[in-house]
């Protein structure tokens, strides 16, 4: 599972958005909302973990959080430092071994949503977390690698992606396909015998992209308050298609913001004392 490497973060990430809400908070709140109606979630560490825990703290209190380290039904009171955080195991309904997690629970088709981060995505929501080309004559830049993502994306009923929006992250062609989203278009997932429907949304700090049902290509459907369509297109490395009527995401509620900030504050406290 890819944790966000420092150099993946954009400088704009901490800029305040409207009414003292940061663009990161807009991304995290909307990522949490994307879990509405889900029962079980295979949670990547980093942004997906923040979103899944926020969903549990707000509109989906019964959401079952599943971490690849082997925990099922974790109820952390603070954001985990890593997937090995004892808090995830101590608050879980069950702790299983890693082979059991991947074989019985994930490959067995028991999980609704796979929530993943990414270093790079393309227009079909394929993901690269392996290597990035730095041009002729220079060695490829090394990223952490696949982790659980290829099989999470193949086997969960649907996939949500969350990452910050930039031309470095939203590229016309991936240097390496670590994890297949919609391949090269409709029908590719069926051709590969994948059980789940694949990426259903890409939530960023600027808005939300969703695959066109006909072409599987990502389309901008929502922008966050204060963000223009042009801003999103400028931050996308391909000619981003835009829905006929782009809507604006609802501003974070007081409850959502308070819950998010409390989770993060508890996480910081955990870091200082451990």
């Amino acid at each position: 599972m890819s944790e966000p490497a420092e150099d993946e973060r954009t400088a704009a990430a901490a800029e305040p958005a409207a009414h003292g809400v940061t663009s990161d908070e807009l991304m995290e709140v909307n990522a949490a909302r994307a879990l509405a109606g889900s029962r079980t979630c295979f949670v990547g560490i980093g942004l997906p973990s923040t979103a899944a825990n926020l969903a549990r703290a707000t509109h989906e209190p019964d959401l079952v959080l599943i971490y690849e380290s082997g925990t099922i039904g974790s109820r952390p009171t603070r954001l985990p430092l890593s997937i090995g955080d004892g808090e995830l195991a101590e608050t879980a309904d069950a702790v299983v071994t890693v082979p059991e997690m991947f074989n019985y629970w994930l490959q067995g088709g028991r999980i609704d949503v796979g929530f993943l981060g990414a270093a790079q995505v393309d227009r079909f929501a394929n993901v690269n977390t392996t290597v990035v080309s730095r041009g002729a004559g220079r060695p490829e830049a090394r990223l952490p690698g696949a982790g659980g993502a290829p099989e999470i994306a193949a086997n969960c009923r649907k996939v949500l992606l969350v990452l910050r929006h930039s031309r470095r992250g939203f590229v016309p062609a991936l240097d390496f396909v670590t994890t297949m989203g919609h391949g090269s278009g409709p029908g590719d997932r069926a051709k590969y015998g994948m059980r789940g429907e694949g990426p259903a949304a890409v939530i960023t700090d600027l808005g939300i992209l969703r695959p066109d049902p006909a072409t599987a290509e990502l389309v901008l459907t929502e922008t966050h308050p204060g963000v223009t369509v042009e801003q999103v297109r400028d931050a996308t490395g391909w000619d981003l298609r835009v829905a006929p009527s782009v809507t604006t995401t609802a501003p974070p509620t007081e409850h959502e913001l308070a819950a998010l900030r409390a989770l993060k504050a508890a996480g910081r406290k955990g870091r200082e004392t451990s």
Partner: protein, 278 residues
Amino acid sequence: MAGVRSLHDAVADLVHDGDTVALEGFTHLIPFAAAHEIIRQGITDLTLARMTPDVIYDQLIGAGLVRKLIFSWGGNPGVGSLHRFRDAVENGWPRPLELDEHSHAGMANRYVAGASGLPFATLRGYRGSDLATRTDTVSTVTCPFTGEELAAVRALTPDVAIVHAQRADRAGNVQMWGLTGVQKEAVLASKRALVTVEEVVDALEPRPGAVVLPHWVLDAVSVVPGGAHPSYATGYSERDNAFYRAWDAIARDREAFTAWLDTEVKAAGATGTAEVSR
């Protein structure tokens, strides 16, 4: 048959130049002290296997002891990149690092096949991914019953597995709990196995969800309190998060890393490798 032995002697006996070694731990119970002993003894030309190579593999790689890495996710958990790993892969410093790269599901099943005495394992994996194009340990096999094409991954059978656990009894039976990852499979897949433990107790009281490794599948048990530091050891110690964060700056710079390795590991002698004398 496990004997309770000093870490120095156990490593010297069980780990040799050129071996394939799996120091496992899925971000919990990571056998840092045993790896430091490998560094002090200068055991080299190693092929290292691990699902989640992190800071300790960064140290072994930066020390120039590693020829090849078999893995599925390499990073400093919750912090960022492994700079020594990246420097070896991208620039060949201090030596080139060959990679055999997988997904977690593939790596877990490679250990399962090894532990099961099978030549390979099957899974629905690697579909639509470029991973299979860069390794010769992933292939496909057709199910004889349904005709479905499945991924086949070659069994992983390291020469040595090294893991850290909470407790052993005086006979050398080992008990671990919390997140137990893929450690049982790694131990059973390997030709030899060394376990470091927090303490030796008279009797292993049963614990829900605990993994017990009988002494007769292990070659040595060494008592190393804090042997997983800076990682977690549930019931004994929390993650030293400040160290993981500090590692980023240490590992970013070749000279800072080399100085750190000299003073904190090589010059540290047997520090932190206390043993029980019996």
